[in-house]
């Protein structure tokens, strides 16, 4: 237990140390990565631990993003209330979608989530007089602060992203090590047997989906507040695929896997798009190769080989 807690606190401390040494460019990238990692952490809770593959998580990410961005712009709220509002939007959205989509399973679940999120995307386009559609809008600089700390400056932005990440990773660790977390894994392994043991799978799957949506919403709201831009592309299918990619790369069903995966994928795309304009090719190839060669991802493979204790 101490070893596990030590590892996670150590990773957070390392990221804090990086704040002081990283050059500007990587400093900004890493802040972005940390926010997106929170998204992937939540995705992994549903996909890696509960065994539900959603193709519509962009809906929850976008609910957080638009919830925060639009409320701040409309009512002149600062970052604090904006974040909470966006977060609540995502949680409610996840609850509503969960009640409907969890009636299905397997392939149908993937298609249903995909379609609901497509409806969400089309909604952001249709109401473009409010959302400004594809073009998106910028959250005014003076609103992006909490307790008069300016979150649009590089230093505070990194620290805010790190704080969010730290909270998220510790909550996730607590969840997966709790009895609820064990039941989620049991549902992944054998839903019928879990039901026979007297647990209600639907309730636990709904819990997992809402928690996962909450992570996605927190990440979306923080992304809007920290980087100041809200646009329809964040609601598109591509943003549903990204966390799947991060999780597959880093390690399905591991706590720190999403961080490893997000860093690896972010820099792979970054380097690839520096070399050629065909970066989508790398995303596609990475997906195919990963699912063929290492379906458990980087950290998942390490756990199998060397570190059975990794949560």
């Amino acid at each position: 237990m101490n070893r596990i807690l030590g590892l996670h606190v150590g990773v957070i401390a390392l990221l804090l140390a990086l704040h002081f040494v990283l050059p500007d460019y990587h400093h900004v990238s890493l802040a972005r990565i940390l926010v997106l990692t929170v998204y992937a952490l939540g995705y992994n809770l549903l996909f890696g631990y509960t065994g539900l593959l959603s193709l519509g998580h962009a809906l929850f990410f976008a609910a957080g993003l638009y919830g925060a961005g639009m409320s701040m712009q409309a009512y002149g709220w600062t970052a604090g209330p904006g974040f909470l509002f966006g977060f609540s939007c995502a949680v409610l959205m996840a609850l509503g979608i969960g009640l409907l989509a969890l009636r299905t399973a397997g392939v149908s679940f993937m298609i249903v989530t995909l379609m609901f999120s497509q409806v969400g995307y089309l909604t952001t386009l249709y109401f473009n007089e409010h959302t400004r559609g594809d073009e998106g809008f910028v959250i005014p600089l003076e609103l992006r602060q909490v307790f008069s700390i300016d979150l649009s400056v590089e230093d505070t932005r990194y620290l805010a992203a790190l704080a969010l990440f730290a909270v998220a990773v510790l909550i996730k660790l607590a969840i997966v090590r709790s009895p609820t977390g064990r039941i989620l894994v049991a549902i992944r392994e054998n839903e019928e047997r879990t039901r026979m043991l007297g647990y209600d799978p639907f309730r636990y799957k709904l819990t997992a989906l809402v928690l996962s949506g909450a992570f996605a919403g927190a990440s979306g709201a923080a992304y809007g507040i920290l980087f100041g831009y809200v646009g329809a592309s964040f609601a598109s299918i591509q943003y549903s695929i990204l966390p799947l990619l991060y999780v597959l790369m880093g390690g399905v069903g591991t706590v720190l896997g999403p961080l490893v995966g997000t860093v690896a994928m972010f820099y792979l795309i970054d380097i690839a798009s520096g070399l050629t304009s065909a970066y989508l090719f790398f995303v596609g190839a990475a997906l195919v190769i990963l699912i063929l060669v290492a379906p458990k991802g980087i950290l998942g493979s390490i756990r199998d080989r060397w570190a059975r204790w990794l949560p």
Partner: protein
Amino acid sequence: MDYGTFFLIASMEGAVQAAVLALTALGLSLVFGVMRVVNVAHGEFYMLGAVIAYWVSSQISGSPLLGFMAALILSPLLVGVLAAVADRLILKRLNYDPEATIVATIGLLYILQQAALTLHGPVPTAVAAPFDFYVRFPGFGYSGYKLFVIVACIALMLGTWFLLAKTRIGLVMRATQYDRETAQAFGIPVDRVYAGVFALGAALAAIAAVLIVPTQQAYYLMGGDPLLLSFIVVIIGGLGSLRGTVVAAILIGMSDGIISTLFEPTLAKMIATALVALVLVFRPTGLFGTVAR
């Protein structure tokens, strides 16, 4: 133009769309029915069909009819071979696991889309129609080529039905669909059947694209809409039911064609997508489907 004529034109457009959609969705339904694989890259096979049609017909200058005929043969052939290779290299190794194949075909989608963008370019390109005449109706003229598309789609669907229901190849496919292990035990080369079905499904999408591309343009992002619509059709028709797929394609294609000429397309798509998701939630076997074994 009076309202009746306008409505008539809208339903003609709907019929063209329904015919092409039925053919595309038939490919998706076939792959899902036999292999239980949800092919997310299906729209990209459609797109490749159109892009190859452009490429072939631009190589054969002079007669658009000759170029069109060449495209009609070459395009599905090339796309089919590509699909068979993808099946052998990727899907087979995943043992056709439903979730893993979805992830892999998403990867394939990105690879094919990027390949088309890099090789074909970002600009939509027009393909000349093989012939150009108008059929006179009382009150308006209608493109003869579009009527040909409807006829050709119906012929191809009948051909596919004949292949599945009346030939030995079809029998082998249906046997594999019914029970993979028993089929294997009876000496049916299941691997080859799967590769063939995946190729056939992709080829159907490619033919549909070759037929429709003279009325539209070849574009590297054109696969998105047919994919979503095919999904909708296959679900409404009942996952795995070919007859349901065709009926649903006519229903959805006609109404989509009519609705989007009369209302705003984004709103129409929004409502249609939400309705389909709800159908799948409350009637998981679709409107015409039977309970899966």
